[in-house]
């Protein structure tokens, strides 16, 4: 179990590439998917030596632009906090990935590498606590900007995020009660195997209501459409109105990294994480009795691929929701959070508890 700092660094690099790569890809997916849904062509101009690759170079062009654009601080702003706030924002968005398991175990000579940066036994609690810190980047940035619209957007965002934080906490209890653990790797392990010999034992089949609530709350927590009243670009623009260059880039990145995060947690809690149906540690065991034996490396690759594909599916789903629904009004957002989702998820806890008690 002893892992050198080199291996931790490799895993850190992998998860960073995973989050940032998907985040970058998302900027492209967002444009391209909206284009398809609205019968347009979408971003396709960025090219390298005339090679356009259906606009896939746009994230790269964005990154170059973020790095090179002038990032200025308004004269009336609080200089220090104005610079610090976007960095805090993106930092708190990234550190959650430390506990997301993206595979089981990789045997590497003598060492067994756990495919999770920090196998924390309070992983889910850690995620929940870190999600609550996201509010600081927004509030401090808004306040430091000293702009009327930034303050408006910041206060809206803060009230929305803390409201949905409560709902987020309550929606995940169904899963914790079923698996009796807050260790994410263990939760994924418990989703291995099958019901009745063929249906993968994923969390969604035990917590269908929990899943729908969680996804809704997750989208609200990341302030994406239809919950984007704090940053409605056609009205108040939001807490990052004064930011330019890298400062804006970091808020932008925070948004997309949080979207990836929500997908990753959804997959981990409700869709078996890295589990592939019928794939055990030594290979595929199909319900009709066929067995394909695979070595450890192949299995690990399958698991990582499975996790990534599932995450991508939920990214696609979030984008589809984003381009389908219109923006909610602010009072509707808060009403939904406090008066519908919170009571329903409390009810979900009671129901889950009763079912578990009866089955026992």
């Amino acid at each position: 179990m002893a892992e050198g700092i080199g291996i931790i660094l490799l895993k850190f690099g992998f998860i960073l590439l995973f989050a940032l790569g998907l985040g970058g890809l998302l900027t492209w997916v967002e444009r391209k998917q909206s284009a398809i849904m609205q019968d347009r062509i979408g971003a396709n101009r960025a090219s390298i030596f005339g090679l356009r690759l259906i606009g896939l170079f746009h994230p790269l062009a964005d990154a170059i632009k973020m790095f090179t654009k002038e990032s200025f601080t308004p004269a009336s702003a609080e200089k220090f906090l104005f610079t610090l706030a976007p960095a805090i924002s993106v930092f708190f968005a990234l550190i959650g990935f430390a506990v997301i398991p993206f595979g089981d175990k990789l045997i590497f000579g003598d060492t067994v590498v756990n495919l999770q940066v920090a196998p924390l036994n309070v992983g889910l609690l850690y995620l929940f606590a870190v999600a609550g810190l996201a509010v600081y980047g927004v509030v401090l940035g808004a306040w430091a900007s000293r702009n009327n619209y930034a303050m408006l957007g910041g206060m809206r965002a803060a009230a929305q995020m803390i409201s949905y934080e409560v709902a987020l906490g309550v929606t995940i209890f169904g899963s914790i009660m079923i698996y009796q653990t807050v260790d994410l790797q263990q939760i994924v392990h418990l989703q291995g195997g099958t019901f009745w010999g063929w249906l993968p034992a994923w969390g969604i089949f035990m917590q269908p209501l929990g899943f729908i609530l969680f996804l809704t709350v997750g989208i609200a927590e990341t302030k994406r459409v239809p919950f984007d009243a704090p940053e409605g670009e056609s009205e108040i623009i939001g807490y990052f109105i004064e930011y330019s260059g890298m400062g804006f880039g970091m808020y932008f990145l925070t948004d997309f990294v949080e979207t990836v995060m929500i997908s990753a947690i959804t997959v981990t809690l409700f869709f078996g994480g890295w589990q592939v149906p019928y794939l055990l540690a030594d290979g595929f065991h199909f319900p009709w009795g066929e067995v394909w034996l695979l070595n450890n490396w192949t299995v690990a690759l399958f698991q990582i691929a499975s996790f990534s594909l599932k995450v991508m599916f939920f990214l696609w789903l979030q984008m589809a929701i984003r381009w389908t629904l219109p923006r909610f009004r602010y009072d509707q957002i808060l009403r939904l959070g406090w008066k519908y989702i919170l009571p329903i998820s409390l009810l979900n806890i009671v129901l889950t508890g009763i079912v578990i008690m009866v089955l026992k």
Partner: protein, 163 residues
């Protein structure tokens, strides 16, 4: 001095330095940012004491909850930003005597107490144990806590509404 000690002193230094920012800053929002790091440092110290659940709850409640409330309070007050919170009454002499007295008492307590030392290898997850104890030995305090929370909620909402 091993790795454990180094990390301990790092967190202790972070906590004290941020607490210094909190106390000496002229701007209340900067004080709140100082408190953010001070409370996070305390969470790190809890981890080093093998209290994993308490450490996470520290982040959840103090860093992610109470501090948000504080920030809201600061931002909702019209002149909260550059208000001078000094009252003019310095009373340096008596303050020095009281502080020195407290320091002596604390120091003696630290020195005299027979601390129960635990070896690093005994650290283990605590969430389940806390759950079991809460449901058995500490049931009454646990249920009273819910009444206390209810009282706090009703009272706070009542006071805030009167504005």
């Amino acid at each position: 001095m091993n790795f454990y000690d180094i990390v301990f002193y790092l967190f202790a230094a972070l906590t004290i330095a941020s607490a210094g920012v909190l106390v000496f800053s002229r701007n209340v929002v900067y004080s709140a940012v100082g408190l953010l790091f001070a409370l996070s440092g305390v969470a790190g110290l809890y981890v080093l004491l093998a209290a994993d659940f308490v450490a996470i709850v520290q982040i959840l409640i103090y860093v992610g909850g109470i501090l948000v409330l504080l920030l809201f309070g600061v931002m909702l007050s019209q002149k909260g930003m550059r208000v001078d919170i000094g009252t003019g009454a310095k009373q340096l002499g008596p303050a020095m005597i009281v502080v020195a007295g407290v320091l002596v008492v604390l120091f003696r307590m630290i020195m005299k107490t027979p601390w129960a030392l635990q070896s690093v290898s005994e650290f283990e997850p605590t969430t389940n144990k806390i759950g079991v104890l809460m449901m058995t030995d500490y049931l009454i305090p646990f249920e009273i806590a819910s009444v206390l929370l209810l009282g706090a909620l009703v009272g706070a909402a009542f006071i805030a509404r009167k504005d």
